[in-house]
Amino acid sequence: MTTQTAQAACKADDGQPLLSVQDLKIRIQMDNGVMQAVDGVDFEIKKGKTLGLVGESGCGKSLTSRAIIGINPKECETTGVIKYDLASEGSASDPIDLLSLDPKGKRIRSIRGNKIAMIFQEPMTAFSPMYTIGNQMVEMIRIHRTKNKKEAKKIALEMLGKVGISDQEKRFDQYPHEFSGGMRQRAMIAMALSCNPELLIADEPTTALDVTIQAQVLELMQSLQREFGMAILLVTHDLGIIAEMCDEVAVMYLGKIVEQAPVREIFYNPKHPYTKGLLKSMPRLGGEKSVRLDSIEGSVPMPIDMPPMCGFYERCTDRIEGVCNARSVPKTRISDDHSVRCFLYSDQQRGEAQ
């Protein structure tokens, strides 16, 4: 994505990206054909930066996130390149391709949880109902940070406190079902952050949190980012959180990134009709009851045997018949750091991106 001009414009952070995802594709075999659930996704994240990933429910955000650490179920046939920079390990500077690693092997397991931690969309997938929260946290910390049991417990208790759980000693010995929904979510966040990851993948991390605790948790992530240069891939549908947390935003629709730009551009200069529709649907504080919320008309098609065309075609108010439904949409660069997949912009002078 970075052009020479953009590189020149960057200052301190123009090193290699920590994570670089290239042409990621995920296919799933279904009864009636092959579903192209993720269809050629590219993005990169630098150390200390936050990339937001937003998009229609079911567009492939979680599949993409989980592909990075290789934990999608086996029916998900995944291709592409996921480069991760292990420079901090002192190894040669060539990043490794996480996709080429054996998903059950030692190498990926040592990266997962230690260098890359993930906060799952549904907390119950992260915890076993059979063991106490404390037990599960300590086990995780002992694998990745310290063998010492006492020290691991100390770290766990401290992290629970940081995510706003009071009476940690007692909570430590409780089972997941004895926590409220938001407390489970926070315990999972505490577990993910307790190993000081280089890259945090946060899939809808605060959906169950009230706004004051949410603010506290987001602040905690930002402070780890400042202190250790943690990079964050933040999947969320909450555009308020995107606005507060992200440097860059990628908007996904039906398995593809349809627009990508710095956060300010996305809010003030959105290009793709889907991005515009999202911003319009956003409920805003200060609105009135009885006002009908805007939503984007129509529904998402199934990405099975889709002819080459724009996935948003059926719902788009600006579509051009014979163009948008006749070819696959190339990526167009609006400016150095703003790209969009939409024919409305593809004939502009700036030319097409690679």
């Binding site: 706003g164 009476d167 649907s281 200060g286 939503s295």
Partner: protein, 343 residues
């Protein structure tokens, strides 16, 4: 206003908490709901907001009787106009009334059976309660699926093959298919992107208009709460601390905790200056609540009175209740009508 469909009187709930360290000692009881009373009118939407862990889900589950309350009454007015205490019902009668009240659970992942196809999950309440032909069931399921934005051709798959937001819509479809009189929606739209969220909220409102459905809407998303509610209840550590018509609550909150909540909503504008009230101090511990007003350790306006005396929930304005000693005296900041609008 219309007649109350639900009258909750002094509801209490406590859980027994065993600690490893007290294996030989007595388990402690933690009071999670404290003396909750409110009325719910037919066809209205009452939203419940509050701190994570304050007891919202527990309250919802006590009402639909997923768990039994420790004490109190949940008086329910049946369609025929009889009043029954929902908590005392047993057996057949309970089963009959239960289909009038549905709950959409906070965590769709654990509330959907992994071994049933999604079609069967959505159809199950129909199959269990009515004698319908297969074709009728298929028709109803298809209708509700498309209303909730689920692709009908997906429905033969199992829950694990759906995304988080799709699973949430499965739970919504399952609750709506019964056309219940009262639905407790527990963070029911929290995993949906804003466009589908809008579609679901509009659907809930349409159904309310057509069938007079009553909603208890538990959510932390205040912009949605503002859009959907007639009244709002704010909970803090097991108690209702403020209850008011939605407009009054947002324009003029009467409890400092409500003010803090409203100030902390992230604004969808990268250039907006943040002006939020950071709550200092620890999140309170329900096993050992602070003296006086439970909110006092984190309240910027506290006085000695707040440390010593427990404030009662009292009516300060018409229909506007607050449990703050200084309700009405403090000049608290709400949300301006057009504050969030961009130029």
């Amino acid at each position: 206003m219309s007649k109350p469909i639900l009258d909750v009187v002094s509801l209490n709930k406590s859980f027994e908490v065993k600690s490893k360290k007290t294996l030989w000692g007595k388990p402690t009881r933690v009071q999670v709901l404290q003396d909750i009373s409110f009325q719910l009118y037919e066809g209205e939407t009452l939203s419940i907001v509050g701190e994570s862990g304050c007891g919202k889900t527990t309250l919802g589950r006590c009402i639909v009787k997923g768990i039994s309350a420790s004490s109190g009454e949940v008086n329910y007015m049946t369609e025929e106009g009889d009043t029954v205490d929902f908590l005392k019902l047993k057996g057949k009668e309970a089963k009959k009334l239960r289909k009038d009240i549905q709950m959409i659970f906070q965590d769709p992942y654990s509330s959907l059976s992994p071994r049933m196809s999604v079609f069967d999950i959505i159809a199950e309440p129909l199959v269990a309660n009515f004698k319908l032909k297969k074709s009728e069931i298929e028709e109803k399921v298809a209708e509700i699926a498309s209303q909730t934005g689920l692709n009908v051709s997906y429905l033969r798959r199992y829950p694990h093959a759906f995304s988080g937001g799709q699973r949430q819509r499965i739970a919504i479809a399952r609750a709506l298919i019964m056309q219940p009189r009262l639905i407790v929606c527990d963070e029911a739209v929290s995993a949906l992107d804003v466009s589908i969220q809008a579609q679901i909220i509009n659907l809930l409102k349409d159904l309310q208009e057509s069938f007079k459905i009553t909603y208890i809407f538990i959510s932390h998303d205040l912009s949605i709460v503002q859009n959907i509610s007639d009244r709002v209840a704010v909970m803090h550590l097991g108690k209702v601390v403020e209850l008011a018509p939605s407009e009054a609550m947002f324009s003029r909150p009467l409890h400092p905790y409500t003010e803090a909540l409203m100030s902390a909503v992230p604004q969808p504008d990268p250039e907006r200056k943040k002006d939020r009230i950071i709550l200092e101090g620890e999140v309170p511990n329900p096993a050992n609540p602070p003296s006086g007003c439970h909110f006092h350790p984190r309240c910027a306006y506290r006085t000695d009175k707040c440390v010593q005396q427990v404030p009662e929930l009292r009516e300060v304005d018409n229909g506007h209740f607050s449990a703050c000693h200084y309700a009405g005296e403090l000049n608290l900041k709400g949300v301006q009508a057009n504050e969030a609008k961009r130029a």
